[in-house]
Symmetry: C2
Subunit: 286 residues, 2 copies
């Protein structure tokens, strides 16, 4: 498990790095970002917060556009953000659309050929990447959060809901909250998972919330009120909130932001609040 450091830039007294490694899970080389806050650069263990990006993104978008580093530096959180799909693999049709294949892994484990050989972003994020981080970065054991945007906001939700206890804090910007009921999700799940609706439910945050029976979990859901994908019924946070209302094991914090859209300008505006939320949960005494 060798990490190749591709870049390192000092930023807010911490360091923004980019690494490449060979993923056994995805059977390809993968790139991911790591922000080390000042305390981590001095070797002090820090909690780690994973960010999952949305459709079309690589590791670069969040690093360059969100401005998260200043807040991670202040709260002494390590932030790790992977790519959104396997890369450099050869699958016919993988580059035909922005919302399926490359850049659109949806953080599920594909069952359908030909995607099932490489498209295992769920296992990559929840297992291999966690192991890589634990082995290579000065992390506090058991202090791990996850958040994301749009497709990645949903990814964060399902990674947490399917693994009670793995993450101690969870939030999402404008998540695709009920993919089995929206055009983006239906296309992706049909392609990666096949035609059986029972298989789809296992990867849908709204379904998982309705059936969740484990350790109580709080979910912080953020949504721009002027988001055109909200209006276009791609996001459906109301379905997830309704499911959570019926389940005592799930608490939700829902913040709607008047006038904000789906862009990184929206994320940049509220990432301080999300990171403070994660920091409060991850740095609390056990």
């Amino acid at each position: 498990m060798t990490l190749e450091q591709l870049s390192a830039n000092k930023c807010f007294e911490g360091e923004q790095r980019v690494y490449r490694h060979r993923s056994d899970t995805l059977k390809c080389d993968m790139t991911f970002g790591v922000f080390l806050p000042p305390a981590a650069l001095e070797g002090k263990p820090c909690p780690v917060l994973f960010f999952l990006s949305g459709l079309t993104c690589t590791h670069e978008n969040f690093i360059q556009k969100s401005g998260f580093q200043q807040h991670a530096a202040r709260h002494n959180l390590i932030v790790v953000n992977p790519d959104t799909s396997p890369r450099g693999v050869e699958i016919a049709g993988q580059d035909d659309a922005y919302d399926f294949g490359s850049g659109a892994g949806f953080y599920v484990d594909a069952k359908e050929e030909p995607w099932s050989k490489h498209y295992k972003m769920y296992s990559y994020v929840t297992q291999e990447l966690v192991d890589v981080v634990n082995a290579n970065l000065p992390v506090v054991p058991g202090k791990r959060g996850i958040f994301g945007h749009s497709m990645g906001g949903h990814g964060a939700l399902i990674c947490a809901l399917k693994n009670p206890g793995l993450y101690q804090s969870v939030s999402a910007f404008a998540p695709i909250a009920n993919p089995t009921e929206c055009p983006w999700g239906k296309k992706a799940f049909a392609g990666y998972l096949g035609s059986n609706p029972d298989d789809w439910a296992l990867w849908d945050a709204t379904h998982l919330v309705s059936q969740y029976e484990s350790t109580p979990q709080e979910l912080f859901i953020d949504q721009g009120a002027a988001d055109n994908f909200l209006a276009g019924k791609q996001l459906l946070p109301e379905n997830l909130l309704a499911a959570a209302d019926g389940n005592d094991h799930i608490q939700t914090i829902f913040k709607q932001r008047e006038g904000y859209d789906h862009s990184y300008f929206y994320i940049a505006t509220f990432v301080a609040e999300h990171i403070a939320y994660h920091a409060a949960l991850l740095t609390a005494s056990a």
Copy 2:
């Protein structure tokens, strides 16, 4: 003088917009960014701060990567950032190199054919764009600052030094401080200005500082100590500082940042300090 609004995104309770207009000076269509802080959105006049970008940039880099909006919102500054060269014009060789032609206008008025027809970025920034801003945005008359990065840091310096009183505040991140003495500057000035060294001196901040005899001017110069272009003798801030030392009409603030490079991660880290500096000067009572 019609402005076409290309985009608008709510950001930190203000609005990041992008406009396109026909430039009479450059004889082409030009795109620029405008951030309106909350007060300006309510129609209250605000000071305006211009940002000039470096080589290879368009208007987009600063808007997306610097995170300046949160600080401009807090201080109620309008921020306007133009492109770095004429665009959409037809000049043989304009796209052959990253450091000359497209994306590399150097904020001078070219004398040499074929560049002189379009490459008048100095007049565009100091006259036409100022007029466009005054006519279309709720600016406070006579409260105007300018800053920039690298080529644009130098651009900010010469725009101010050649127009005493036009700008009430000036700062630069890692400026190409003495272009007549560095490879980037020699190439650009030979191409745009020809072979007469007297013509070059008129556009070199270090020469202008040494000869400046007008209203006292303070210049805030910022430099990353680990900037590879500093090591490569492209920036030469020491020459500008030495020239300022010999001129009572110029005061300098020089901040060197240990470990920081030439990237937007460096700008993002210190843009808060620059905007606070401009705000203090631009919102002071006359």
